[in-house]
């Protein structure tokens, strides 16, 4: 990915001075309250599994908390998202497996929890399809797509979060939509075939 990393949002000086403490604590609380859901959903759509997402979201915020004094005011969301993006890429590959192993060690009585109610199952199924379709997008396209189509941000906000030019956002978004639409169509046809069997 070409955008600047979270480090770019970190101020580079005046870091070691003692700070008025309430502002840090308050900023942390604000940051979590304002952005937790955004980060949580973003992580999910970036491919972090349901079992892992709470933990990864927590890691994102904890990391941000350690750097709070150096995150420029107003850049919190960008910092969090970029952190989430990197974390999603690094953990989603192996997390699911580890988690399963950990659960297996604890006991296996719960591998068959009660089935979800129908409505929730359908919703979960749709989300699983959505995530599968998103999985067909390259990560840079997927990122822009999620921010625009799911989170409802505009191109300028996205450009600012990702640290890329607005024109790049627009072109990625165009390609992302094409990729999404074609993957969605394939998914739809697959489901149709399965249903008609």
């Amino acid at each position: 990915m070409s955008q600047a990393g979270p480090a770019a949002l970190i101020a580079s000086s005046a870091d070691d001075m003692p700070r008025e403490w309430p502002s840090d604590a308050a900023r942390q609380a604000d940051m979590a309250a304002q952005h937790y859901q955004f980060i949580w959903r973003s992580l999910r759509r970036l491919g972090v599994g349901e079992q892992a997402v709470d933990d990864v979201a927590q890691q994102v915020f904890v990391l941000a908390a350690t750097k709070i004094a150096r995150i420029a005011p107003g850049s919190e969301r960008a910092f969090l998202f970029q952190t989430a993006l990197r974390m999603a890429m690094s953990v989603r590959r192996d997390y699911a497996q580890r988690r399963e192993e950990a659960l297996d060690e604890e006991g296996d009585e719960l591998v068959d929890p009660a089935p979800l109610p129908d409505a929730r199952a359908e919703e979960a199924q749709r989300r699983a399809t959505l995530d599968a379709v998103l999985g067909a997008l390259a990560m840079d396209l997927r990122t822009v797509f999620i921010l625009y189509e799911i989170e409802g941000l505009d191109s300028i906000e996205i450009a600012s979060i990702l640290g890329i030019p607005v024109g790049t956002v627009a072109s990625r978004l165009r390609r992302a939509r094409e990729a999404f639409q074609s993957a969605a169509e394939r998914a739809r046809l697959r489901m149709q075939r399965r249903a008609s069997r």
């Binding site: 609380a29 309250a33 933990d55 997390y95 189509e149 989170e151 969605a184």
Partner: protein, 341 residues
Amino acid sequence: MTQPPRLVDSGTAFERELLSSAQSDTGSDAGLKRAVLAMGAMGAGVATTATASTATASTAAAGTATGLAAGASGGSAAAILGGTSVAVVVKWVGVSAALIGIGGATASVTSYVRSRVVTETPTSAIARAPAIARAPAIAPAPPLASHPPMAGPDEPHARVAAAAIPPTDLAFGPPPVAGPLSGAPPLSGAPPLSGPLSGAGAAPSVRASQTPVTAPSTAAFSAGAPKAAASIEPARSWRPESIRALPPPSSLDAEVAALDSVRSSLASHDPAGALRDLDAYDRAFPASMLGDEALVLRIDALVAKGDRDSAQARSRRFLAVHPGSPHAAQLLRLLDRSHNP
């Protein structure tokens, strides 16, 4: 620049359906709460002495930063700095953490308590309180936020109000927050804090990020703020005085006290008593913040009582709905115990 129409409006029915499904996928309150705890955004308390009332309001507690700072009184852990005119502010309790190499997958969590001493006579050193005041089972302790920032002159003793984090949560060592990478649910030893916190995550947030959600530095976390993240002014310019304007904290301290009593019953091998206490708890706190914790205690009590079926049924129901709950591991252990008593 012009924004292309969004697929959620302009796409095919199937595309719209897929995209809409993402909107109802939200993080839980418990997750948010754990994140806040782990961040150390947890507020702490205030301590004053009789003469400290003249100190500036700068000693106001950050306490209610999460609404969880019920006023644990009694000067338990934090520094009590003798008879000098000292106002102690136990600084926020931090579980600063992380150091997760973003690219790598290692997590290490450190916990620390930063303390700060504001003194009128700059004699006292920083109280680096080693223990976050373990809030004893406080019955309805005077809620911090409804207290004036400083105790009045009639307050005879130094009071240290530390964040009334339920005791178990104070074990902020690496294990609780060890996080996903160790495979352990973070804060799994931290039952009391994962109850439904506010309405924040409950309602499907539609395009949440478009709504200018302002920062509920305090109230979003209090039980009495079901609107959660939606309506509070950002606390950018945090001023100590603003502590006065904070909403009163929840009945969390009372809940904690009630559940502590359940724990004592369990500890003294009185599961029936624990279950009675839990029934009372359910009646007293219909919209409890620590409901998950209460459920885990109930399951514990049921196992202790030998009511294995009921314990298992409840566990399974809970886990079906909250598979990623920090209580999952504990429930698994309890169930295991119920299988192999």
